[in-house]
Amino acid sequence: MNMSITSYKKQLQQLQPLIALFLLCLIIAIFSDRFMTVTNLWNVMRQISVNICIAVGMTLVIISAGIDLSVGSVLAFAGAVTASFLSMGVELPFFGVYLGFTTLGAILMGIAMGGVLGLVNGWVITYFKVQPFVATLAMLTIARGLTMLWTQGYPISSLGAPFAHLGTGWFLGVPIPVWIAAIVTVLAVFVMRKTRFGRYIYAIGGNERAARLSGIKVNQVKTLVYMLAGMLAAVGGILVTSRLDSAQPNAGMGYELDAIAAVVIGGTSLSGGRGLIMGTVLGAVIIGVLNNGLVLLGVSPFWQQVVKGMVILIAVIIDRSQHKEKK
């Protein structure tokens, strides 16, 4: 009896963000007839996919009790690398060889580059014991600088039809970025629920010392987490670049905040050890719909920011009070 009541209550709590999303959609739909159109909804989904890719990586980092502030810059750098390889290829100075890249090759290079930057984050954090906040804050600046150097401050455009198709095209009636975000989500859910690596991330975030004493190679797992976050940011960067058919040196500024917001709204604890990928996806959708709705309702952009901030606060306060109740 008691048991069934608590489990029912628990289920209701898990549904809460979904109910919030539903109410949000309802309110926007009442005041704007343009919201519930097929074009607008696919458009919203397309925009959200980039944040989902980044935020899924961020979720892994935050569950491990870390943070990654560098994702926005890593996104820009990976986009620039992919774009330049696509449009110009690489000339190897010492050999006089010119290397051209296929679309797939350039994309893989971009993702690899994101992975390398993430690996550096992980290495600095685990080997030199620098706090994640500080290490990734430094990387935020470094990667942005590298992007500027790489592009000389100019956008790299005209990247070819196959590449542009990635960000703007459709597959089976669904925008390709939405497919990609969905695949990333499914993979991440699988990893977190069904693999040793996922379990280790939860354990490290919950109690790093106990994890180490249990024989987990904590440094190795953490480094891998930051590397994955970098690679997922790179995927986001490639999607952004493809949609605009142009790599902007200042792309992705502030994206880390949207990603963290999605994670937090999704109920993941910033102190680590607790959180779900699906929560983050829901968080990203809520932020995306909110952005879109505020624009459609003609709310001033200044007010939009205020509202977004308040939604984050409310979400966290509700989550906090529920977890206190448990204790």
Binding site: K194, T195, R196, R199, Y200, Y202, A203, G206, N207, R209, A210, A211, R212, L213, S214, G215, I216, K217, G273, R274
Partner: protein, 500 residues
């Protein structure tokens, strides 16, 4: 000055103090003695306002008082010098001494010159020469302890409680402390002195109070007892039944350590010095020592948590090798450590019983890179039954279990790694009597299966109940080894006490 009337204090139904009646007269030094867990700390925490709720009455200067906080007690004249240091490492000596009691100029600023003068005077009483602007983090432990004492002297107190004040200070500094205690006594103050060092107690104290199992054994004049009698009163309980059946012990050495030394990572002192011992398959070796003797350091070094030792050689399972450098490596070779702090080091409290139990063996539960739910569940089932872990389901949050069951989950986690040697650090701390017996049975069972077992404990009856052999440690060295049947509580305590 202070009288305790029928003081009783319980923690979760376990009595820490029971009907305690003590008189602390003015102008006297009273030695408070007892084994670990006898209730000394609880008593002091009540006196100094750390625990505001208890049963019974506390009389201070003739009236009934109930202190609400340490600050409250201090303001009325009772000060405690804790064994653990409560200094802020990056603040200077003078800032620490005056923390929370800063002297102000009439304009509301800090009156640094005046504070320095007062501090200077205090330190000279302690015969301590220090630059007052040095951050405390750069001082030696002994100096920190003296600063802690200086802090207490700053407040004009009528009752000063000192909890192991000399555990880290050198001989010459001890004499400065003796002088101060004599001064306090001469000016009519009461000094309550807690220490394991018999020599100090007999030099300083006028009266003694012996606590055992939360009750007062005796209060009397120091001049009327000798050291042996005092030790007997501290121990004096019926001995737990000793293990007779020892056929499980083999002569196959599974772990051997020679001349192990470990230097402090930051300071120039030795945590472990020239330790040599061995452990056979099927044998249970107990390690006894007082706080700070180096017991935990020994286990952690063997488990690869303390980095490379300064010197020593190591052989495991009849194979000569270098010391382990990580828990991962130790576990792979078959050496497991059940840590002392089960909530801090043993468990991930946010995870359920199953996930905690399988944490160390997940790689063996994988099927093509995917965790096999069925096998994980079976493994859990097996250990929950074998160790009789009481939990509604294995999906229960481990934080909701009782202490004894939590300890069993930690034990199960490490047993699942199929170790050859099992080390346990204070395996029954804070768990009830019945669960204790169960843990002892499990430990004996493991030894009978051929494991070498090492148990660190500060409770002698515990070691008498399970150990075949007892190593006694003091100041980072092994001072004596006993076969359990040849040891008595007195001889072990003698070997564990410093100064002898």
């Amino acid at each position: 000055m202070v009288s305790l009337r029928n003081i009783t204090k319980q923690f979760n139904g376990v009595y820490a103090l029971r009907d305690v009646n003590i008189e602390f007269p003015a102008a006297k030094v009273i030695a408070l003695v007892g084994e670990n867990g006898a209730g000394k700390s609880t008593l002091m925490n009540i006196l100094s306002g750390v625990y505001p709720d208890y049963e019974g009455e506390l009389l201070y200067k003739g009236e009934v008082v109930q202190f609400q906080s340490p600050r409250d007690a201090q303001d009325r004249g009772i000060t405690i010098i804790h064994q653990e240091l409560n200094l802020i490492p990056y603040l200077s000596v003078v800032e620490n001494i005056f923390l929370g009691r800063e002297l102000m100029t009439p304009w509301g600023g800090l009156d640094t010159p005046k504070m320095k003068n007062v501090a200077e005077e205090l330190l000279s009483r302690l015969k301590l020469e220090l630059d007052l602007d040095t951050p405390v983090s750069q001082l030696k432990v002994g100096e920190c302890q003296l600063i802690e004492i200086a802090k207490a002297l700053l407040v004009e107190s009528d009752v000063v409680i000192m909890d192991e004040p000399t555990s880290a200070i050198s001989e010459s500094e001890v004499y400065a402390l003796y002088d101060i205690i004599a001064d306090l006594k001469a000016s009519g103050k009461t000094v309550v002195y807690i220490s394991h060092k018999m020599k100090e107690l007999f030099t300083l104290a006028d009266e003694y109070v012996v606590l055992r199992d939360g009750q007062v054994v005796k209060q009397g004049l120091m001049a009327e007892v000798d050291e042996q009698q005092l030790v007997n009163m501290m121990v004096g309980r019926a001995l737990a039944e000793r293990v007779k059946c020892q056929d499980r012990i083999t002569d196959a050495t599974v772990l051997q350590v020679d001349n192990l030394s470990l230097a402090h990572p930051l300071k120039e002192e030795m945590l472990l010095e020239n330790l040599s011992f061995d452990l056979c398959k099927g044998e249970i070796v107990g390690v006894f020592g007082l706080m700070g003797a180096g017991r935990t350091e020994l286990l952690e070094t063997l488990f690869g948590l303390r980095g490379k030792p300064t010197s020593g050689s190591f052989s495991f399972d009849e194979q000569e090798m270098s010391f382990f450098t990580s828990p991962n490596q130790a576990l792979r070779y078959g050496l497991a450590l059940v840590p002392e702090d089960r909530k801090g080091d043993g468990l991930v409290l946010g995870m359920n019983v199953r996930a905690n139990l399988s944490l160390s063996v997940l790689s063996s539960l994988e099927n093509l890179g995917v965790l096999a739910d069925v096998q994980e569940k079976e493994l859990c089932q097996q250990y929950v039954e074998r160790l009789r872990i009481k939990t509604a389901t294995d999906q229960q949050h481990v934080g909701n279990l009782s202490g004894g069951n939590q300890q069993k989950v930690v034990l199960a986690k490490y047993l699942a790694t199929k170790p050859k040697v099992l080390m346990l650090d204070e395996p029954t701390r804070g768990i009830d009597v019945y669960a204790k017996q169960e843990i002892y049975d499990l430990i004996r069972e493991q030894a009978a299966l051929g494991l070498g077992v090492m148990v660190v404990s500060s409770e002698l009856p515990e070691l008498f109940a399970i150990a075949d052999r007892i190593l006694v440690m003091c100041d980072g060295r092994i001072t004596k080894q006993f076969k359990t049947e040849e040891a008595t509580e007195e001889t072990i305590l003698q070997a564990a006490l410093p100064d002898q």
